[in-house]
């Protein structure tokens, strides 16, 4: 319904304006309705300005800046209506070390409401997990899951219950 979309849009927008500067250590961003007259169908525009930079089209942002802005939007929606769990598959891939740390700080905060499952190749992200599973293919084409301690020790193999 029109009211419900607008209410959610405004809540998400408010949260996004708060979340973006935390991920970017400054700057600002917001959402805009393409057509405020048409709440049933209007698309959503994103406006984003990293700290110290001038406002310009989001297309000119860097790969990492675009990814972090998108993470900010997803997290904002998530904070308005948390789901029991959130699965993030390699969202940290384009981020540099400083942005990964802020990303992981925010994931940590959100575990107050939900479980997070993050797939990653990044060591910093691995260090911020409570529980780490390694997926291996000792036998080509056959996946196996083991529990991992950082430092690479295999704690115990899981799941080989045939």
């Amino acid at each position: 319904s029109r009211e419900r979309f607008l209410k959610t849009f405004e809540l998400v927008n408010e949260k996004f304006q708060e979340i973006f500067p935390r991920l970017f250590k400054g700057g600002r961003a917001k959402l805009l309705l393409v057509d405020e007259e048409n709440l049933l169908e209007s698309g959503v525009e994103i406006v984003a300005q990293p700290p110290g930079k001038k406002l310009q089209s989001i297309t000119l942002l860097s790969g990492g800046e675009k990814a972090l802005t998108a993470v900010g939007l997803i997290f904002s929606i998530f904070l308005i209506k948390p789901s029991p769990f959130c699965l993030l598959d390699e969202v940290d891939a384009p981020l540099d070390d400083a942005n990964i740390d802020r990303f992981n700080d925010m994931v940590r905060e959100m575990t107050a409401h939900s479980q997070f499952i993050v797939i990653t190749h990044n060591k910093r992200t691995m260090e911020r997990t409570d529980c780490l599973y390694g997926v291996t293919m000792e036998e080509a084409g056959v996946s196996k899951v083991v529990s991992v301690r950082l430092g690479g020790d295999v704690k115990e193999p899981l799941s080989q219950v045939a």
């Binding site: 998400v12 209007s42 525009e45 769990f85 409570d130």
Partner: protein, 168 residues
Amino acid sequence: MKLKSLELFGFKSFVDKTTIHFEEGVTGVVGPNGCGKSNIVDAIRWAMGEQSAKHLRGSEMQDVIFNGTSSRASIGMSQVILSFDLTDGRAPAGYTDYTEVQVERRLYRSGESEYYINKVPCRLRDIVDLFLGTGVGTKAYSIIEQGRIGHILASKPEERRFIIEEAA
């Protein structure tokens, strides 16, 4: 409603029965390219009722059944069981008296499918309905598959609206 465990048997590269337990907090999944990490995400989506093979990187749904390796034959069925703990009081509609809810999906090479909620046979739509309103669903903003984060800013304004509508 908390994710408790995922059991895969014959789902994509998980030919051998595999059970993964999920704890509180942040669970990391790591491993080399192609070892099966994203297949775990596919399994969770599939168990929750994903209806499009394309969203699971396949062209037809049978693509999720383990299809063999150079040293193992393909098999005839894929099975995934997803279990949730309901003791935190956030249960899906109709399950407020339960301490656990488990959804199970099977697909045979013939194309036949079976669906179960708490071991009771049901239809695919019952599984989809179970998750409606819980904030978890195959289309929700709570599953960001590999590569998708880069598309959100590039997407059309109407597609971004859709993500927000999911939370409305």
